[in-house]
């Protein structure tokens, strides 16, 4: 007993565990290169039960071969893993829970797998730690959720393990840094092994092992919006955003969501905004993926600089040929980085995005009763940046409008939600109570899953007009301003017409005619590009759309 108590504490257990894992894994590898046919046995050698494991699953790029291999490993060898990854997108990501390889999950987003995830949570197969925002989960990689083993995806590797990610760097740097410097095992899935990588995105001595996948990693073109399906109501809302917000505040630095509403804004910059003389005055710097609908605004000189969280399929040659606009490596291809893009957007002047439900305090949520989807990047982009100190025209003007409790002047980030009053199937976007409250109960969450909180929101844009919540003095005024743009939804029909008229007088509610928007211009003719083919033409043939968008 005495001997044990006096035994010196070991301070390198993680390091010794790392060395043991590397030694066990080396039996299945030649140097750092794992023999592909032995990938499953290799994983059984390096992963231990209860490990925290990160499977790189971003918006687009996925370590899909390694994810599938993990879902085929022996449950005797690997079980009760704690998965810490941003995006649950592929069936194997949930297979590992269904079969008991993994039990606990901390994640950000589960778009297409949302229904199945809800079922597995209900069956007790998944214990959800929390649904995070991107920056929040990456931050926890460096705090209490550091991975023991991470799978990342890259385009190419050399024999020393140097990685080239290509334009889709995305989350890789965050995962790599946290894993490699806390004695974690970093395994890279690559499309090809080469003698010399085009550029070093991850230094080889941070990488433990490399597996050459049988086919290129899966990439999803989630940021491509076909202009052909943009509606005239979306054009109208875009016109109101440009006049009522971008022009009014002089918004030069911003982040756009990725829906059709914001695509419509991008596509009327070279037409409507140009005619208003706003070139050089709005939308100059953006934090957003290289959405193809941005091409006309770039080509016409509106958007001068864009930092990207990830890339987009088909935009590789275009971005490479516009190094004044995009961030490009010495090899000539784009470099993306989700953390830095999120940070750049957080400290810019405006975020605008869409949502599924909004309540009378302005809280918005994409959670609906049957699905667990999560948030992605919107909560970070779409929140007041309270640590900001530098001034800009837009930030200071919004700051002057906001109601302050003390004397100290403050700036204010513009946080805008853009929605039609009715969504798919005539379901009202505006509700007295968010489904998120029910979801909290069903899935035993600590809080209702809210995407953008009402006190972060400054403007709400619908086809009816704009509610400026900065100018509302009370919660009652705020609720009536929201009802005032909620149209013919039950929430909108219950508006106090006299109070909305008073709010309109002080500019807290503005309709198209108050904004100088001529609805006769709200047609698809206003779009600088009306099809994917038009976007290809604007790009001078550099944009190479995925086949599913080649509908001409």
């Amino acid at each position: 007993m005495l001997e044990k108590a006096d035994a010196p504490r070991r301070w390198d257990t993680l390091e010794r565990s790392y060395r043991a894992r590397i030694e066990r894994g080396a039996a299945f590898a030649d140097g750092k290169i794992v023999r592909r046919d032995e990938t499953e046995r290799f994983l059984e050698a390096v992963i231990e039960p209860g490990d925290r494991v990160c499977i790189e699953g971003n918006n687009q790029k996925h370590a899909d071969f390694l994810a599938a291999a993990l879902s085929k490993t022996s449950v005797e060898a690997i079980h009760d893993l704690h998965i810490v990854q941003s995006n649950i997108a592929l069936p194997p990501h949930l297979d590992v829970f269904e079969r008991g390889t993994a039990r606990r999950l901390d994640f950000c987003y589960a778009g297409p797998q949302g229904l199945r995830m809800a079922r597995l949570v209900a069956e007790g197969k998944i214990e959800v730690g929390a649904i995070h925002t991107y920056l929040e989960l990456y931050s926890r990689y460096f705090c209490d959720l550091t991975p023991h083993v991470s799978f990342v995806a890259a385009d190419a590797a050399d024999a020393d393990g140097n990685l080239y990610t290509g334009p889709n760097t995305e989350d890789t740097p965050a995962i790599v840094e946290a894993t490699a410097f806390k004695s974690g095992v970093l395994i890279a899935q690559v499309n090809r092994i080469v003698d010399k990588v085009p550029r070093v995105d991850v230094p080889g001595d941070w990488v433990s092992f490399v597996v050459e996948a049988p086919k290129p990693h899966y990439i999803e073109p989630i940021f491509t919006r076909d202009p052909a399906v943009i509606t005239e109501v979306q054009v109208l809302m875009a016109m109101m955003v440009i006049r009522g917000i971008y022009e009014k505040y002089g918004v030069t630095r911003l982040n756009h969501g990725i829906g059709f509403d914001t695509a419509a804004i991008e596509l009327i910059l070279p037409t409507y905004a140009e005619d208003l003389g706003l070139k050089g005055k709005i939308c100059r710097y953006m934090s957003v993926n290289p959405c193809p609908t941005l091409i006309p605004a770039i080509e016409s000189g509106f958007v001068e600089s864009i930092h990207c969280a990830g890339s987009e399929l088909g935009m590789e040659a275009y971005t490479a040929a516009r190094s004044d606009v995009f961030f490009i490596g010495r090899d000539g291809s784009m470099r993306s980085n989700r953390i830095f893009c999120q940070l750049a957007g957080h400290y810019s002047d405006l975020f605008i995005g869409s949502t599924l439900q909004i309540d009378l305090e302005g809280n918005s949520s994409t959670a609906t009763l049957s699905r667990i989807t999560g948030f992605g990047g919107a909560p970070n982009f779409g929140s007041e940046s309270r640590a900001r100190r530098h001034g800009s025209e837009a930030w200071l003007k919004a700051g002057r409008e906001q109601r302050l409790s003390g004397e100290m002047p403050r700036g204010r980030k513009l946080v805008v939600q853009i929605v039609e009053t009715f969504g798919d199937g005539m379901s009202p976007t505006f509700v007295e109570r968010l489904d998120a409250w029910e979801l909290q109960k069903t899935f035993d969450m600590p809080l209702p899953p809210v995407m953008v909180y009402g006190d972060d929101l400054t403007h709400l844009v619908t086809e009816e007009g704009i509610a400026n919540l900065l100018l509302c003095d009370t919660m009652e005024e705020r609720a009536q301003a929201i009802r005032g743009v909620a149209g013919y939804t039950p929430v909108g029909m219950k508006r106090d017409r006299e109070m909305v008229a008073r709010l309109r007088e002080k500019g807290a509610v503005q309709y198209a005619e108050d904004l100088g928007v001529d609805k006769r211009l709200a047609t698809r003719d206003l779009l600088a590009a009306r099809s994917i083919k038009d976007l290809v033409a604007w790009s001078g043939g550099l944009y190479d759309p995925p086949s599913r968008f080649r509908n001409w």
Partner: protein, 104 residues
């Protein structure tokens, strides 16, 4: 199909032009014809819609429309293919802007 008829007080001037047309009938869309008519200063609206059960919404959308534009002696005829109130109001406002525009 549902056929609806509404009638409202006129509040403003007679339109500058004889008629104006906006939109086309199609799924989720509608056709709006607005025309000058001798209605003794009142305004009327006739709606033929493919979707039943939204009479109260139509009444309110059209009441807000006439209040917004302050017109008299006009008849609005609508052929609706299941448009949302957003599209309905946009088409109505586009047609109203046309018929009120003396210079066009």
């Amino acid at each position: 199909m549902e056929h609806l008829e509404f009638d409202y007080d006129g509040t403003g001037a007679k339109p500058a032009r004889a008629f104006a047309l906006a939109g086309v009938v199609g799924s989720g869309n509608l056709e709006v014809l607005i025309e000058a008519a001798d209605l003794g200063g009142r305004c009327a609206a006739v709606v033929d819609t493919s979707v039943r059960g939204y009479g109260e919404t139509w009444r309110q959308v059209l009441a807000d429309f006439f209040a917004r534009h302050a017109m008299s002696d006009v008849r609005v005829s609508i052929n609706d293919g299941g448009a949302t109130p957003a599209v309905v109001s946009l088409r109505l406002d586009q047609a109203a802007a046309e018929i009120k525009d003396a210079s066009a």
